[in-house]
């Protein structure tokens, strides 16, 4: 194995070993996505029943409304879990007061980021796949029925989550443990602009402008198009991908700057204090 890959594997192994020894951590990965799916699944079922029973309502429209809701919940979890996966893996090093050892090893910053992304991918799959299973078993909703385009939805939402996570890590490097709360909350603040549960068109004009630059909004527009019309909106996917590249470039530049500044200020040893 090449030394760079081995160093990335070293950090990945650190987190795999941690999860192997800690069932509460493992449980936590799937707990929230499955709980979300249960709550929103029943909500979707209730709404679908009301739509179907309403004058002029149809079973098809009810099913579509329910599917759009469940698809939104599941896919938004992909972004949330991806973002949290990176940020929490980084914070594990802070909590264990281990960052000093990591940063004096030959591990390059980009290798650290690569390992964090690997941990995030594993955490996301461990959280979202059970929720997808629950959606199928309890509500007969099969996300993969959307076709191979689901992979592109996943990829775009993961990229957005990672970009936000790099921004969060940059803030932790700058402000220390005081910025930790952002790891859980920052992406929730973007939910209104991500158009998870409604089309961008329902937003007021100023919010539409903001939604346009949020990659997730294009993914969810694409998801609804696939669900309702059965078409793949390559224009929306292209926009999401392009925006993600810009977001990741900006987040990488911010991370590189804050990492260097942390080395200049001497923040790497005392970051958890």
């Amino acid at each position: 194995m090449k030394p760079a890959f081995r160093r990335v594997w070293g950090l990945l192994y650190r987190h795999l070993a941690l999860y192997r020894r800690s069932w509460p951590r493992l449980l936590e990965l799937a707990y929230w996505p499955v709980l979300q799916m249960c709550i929103w699944g029943f909500t979707a079922r209730f709404l679908a029943q009301r739509i179907a029973a309403a004058p002029g309502g149809s079973l098809h429209a009810a099913a579509l409304a329910g599917s759009a809701l469940l698809g939104g919940v599941l896919l938004w979890e992909v972004a949330l879990r991806s973002q949290m996966g990176v940020a929490i893996a980084f914070m594990e090093e802070i909590w264990s007061r281990n960052l000093g050892h990591v940063f004096v090893s030959p591990l390059r910053p980009w290798e650290l980021v690569g390992a964090l992304l690997g941990v995030s991918l594993a955490r996301m799959l461990a959280g979202v796949l059970p929720a997808i299973g629950v959606a199928y078993l309890l509500y007969a909703f099969n996300l993969f029925a959307l076709g191979p385009v689901v992979v592109l939805f996943f990829a775009n939402l993961m990229m957005m989550g990672w970009a936000v996570a790099l921004g969060v890590i940059s803030l932790i490097l700058r402000h220390g443990a005081g910025a930790e709360a952002l790891a859980w909350s920052v992406l929730f603040g973007l939910t209104p602009f991500a158009a998870v549960f409604y089309p961008v068109a329902v937003l007021p004009a100023p919010m539409r402008a903001l939604a346009f630059i949020v990659p997730a909004s294009h993914v969810f527009e694409g998801m609804r198009a696939a669900l309702i019309s059965g078409v793949t909106r390559w224009d929306q996917l292209g926009l999401a991908f392009g925006l993600n590249l810009v977001w990741i470039a900006a987040a990488t530049a911010l991370f590189a700057y804050q990492f260097r500044e942390a080395r200049r200020r001497g923040a790497l040893l005392g970051i958890g204090e």
Partner: protein
């Protein structure tokens, strides 16, 4: 070639000058002690030697590598131990050593872990979580982590802090033997004067970020007319040498 070459090393935090123009070299295989009170600049100097901290001015070369432009090549050949930096507490000792073995690209890693555990008398600790060890056991594990890559330069920040005298002596004896066998260059920051006297070939006395004196322990004892380094340390920390000279005149 020296193992470490430091020239004009300076670190300023705003208006505070933490390290003020240090110049020193450490020959291959030598042990240099950094002595000084709290806030003298020892930890800041070690952090800059490890690339954790960017100097305001000056240069550092470790094993011929410029730490400003080529620090990863140097880091591959050095290591560090400090009681103030922990290992993940939930992971076992073996898992922790495996992580660092991968980070340092150590060949035949399992064999290396087994050999280190035998050398440091900690084979029975390998399966235990790092967080459940006593201070003495943690020190041995920290040493194993610091030696996992057979470092040519080893930086030790207060390696026997918070250890009982017996365990402290065991660590010092072990370090002496290790240096003799491996030819490793050691830079040691410590508040334990007996330790510095026993282990170090040369000592830098730091005060307020500056080198105020340097020399071998024997030379320093002779120069200050003292029987142990603790008295030398107090002379420097409290400016007693100048006061004694003034009183003599």
């Amino acid at each position: 070639m020296n193992a470490i070459d430091v020239a004009g090393l300076t670190k300023r935090y705003g208006s505070i000058l933490a390290v003020d123009g240090l110049d020193f070299s450490v020959p291959m295989g030598a042990t240099l002690g950094l002595l000084g009170g709290n806030g003298a600049g020892k930890t800041t100097t070690i952090a800059m030697l490890l690339g954790l901290l960017i100097p305001t001015a000056g240069s550092i070369r470790v094993l011929g590598h410029d730490m400003a432009s080529d620090r990863f090549a140097a880091l591959q050949r050095m290591n560090f131990s400090s009681p103030y930096v922990s290992l993940p507490a939930r992971l076992t000792v073996a898992e922790n050593l495996r992580i660092y073995g991968h980070l340092y690209d150590v060949p035949r890693l399992e064999h290396r872990i087994g050999a280190l555990a035998a050398e440091l008398d900690m084979t029975e600790l390998l399966g235990r979580p790092a967080g459940q060890l006593s201070a003495g056991q943690k020190t041995r594990v920290a040493l194993a982590k610091a030696l996992i890559n057979r470092p040519e330069v080893l930086l030790l920040d207060e390696p026997t802090a918070s250890l009982d005298p017996d365990t402290g002596d065991w660590v010092r004896t072990w370090l002496e033997r290790y240096r003799a066998e491996s030819g490793c260059t050691i830079l040691l920051a410590s508040h334990n004067m007996a330790e510095v006297e026993r282990l170090c070939d040369d000592v830098l006395m730091l005060k307020q970020g500056r080198i105020v004196d340097r020399g071998s322990p024997t030379a320093l004892l002779g120069r200050y007319g003292r029987d142990d380094l603790e008295e030398v340390f107090l002379d420097i920390a409290r400016d007693r040498r100048a006061a004694r000279a003034e009183a003599a005149t």
